[in-house]
């Protein structure tokens, strides 16, 4: 895709198109990751439909994964700050 990006350097429409497709691809990849993880956590034996407990589990799984990621980022930043203030 990088030759395409070179071509688009002077073309606004192409730049915008690439940016949007890139964002869409990121969202898509994230959904795949969630599905990968939450399937393992929530799905037992496949049946005729997803029962409401399973649906709740999947939905909670996505939110809790994001919460986990935010919490880890936050605490890691704090730890780095503490570390650097000690080194001073």
């Amino acid at each position: 895709m990088s030759e395409f990006e070179d071509l688009s350097a002077n073309d606004k429409e192409l730049q915008e198109f690439l940016m949007i497709e890139k964002q869409k691809a990121q969202v898509h990849a994230q959904i795949h990751e969630f599905n990968e993880i939450c399937w393992e956590k929530c799905i037992g034996k496949p049946s005729n439909k997803l029962d409401s407990a399973t649906e709740t589990c999947l939905s909670n799984c996505v939110d809790r994964f994001i919460d986990t990621s935010l919490l880890i980022t936050q605490r890691f930043a704090q730890a780095l700050q503490k570390q650097s203030s000690v080194d001073m």
Binding site: F4, L7, F17, K49, L58
Partner: protein, 81 residues
Amino acid sequence: MSMANVDKGELISQVKQQIAVANAQEMLTQMTQKCFKKCVNKPGTSLDSGEQKCISMCMDRFMDSWNLISQTYGQRLQRME
């Protein structure tokens, strides 16, 4: 290479198609792994009817799961703005 020689619309359309194909492939790969894991526990000399039925249901549940997760993620992104 000048853009005058290339039909921009066609280029955009080709890239979109390639992206769609890549997405479908990723979906299929994940679906195959998940459903094999769930449905084929003791590999025999062929897939018996129980395994086939399980795989069929599994594919549908996988898509249900994917759509639900997509929806939940979309809603969460909106709340985070």
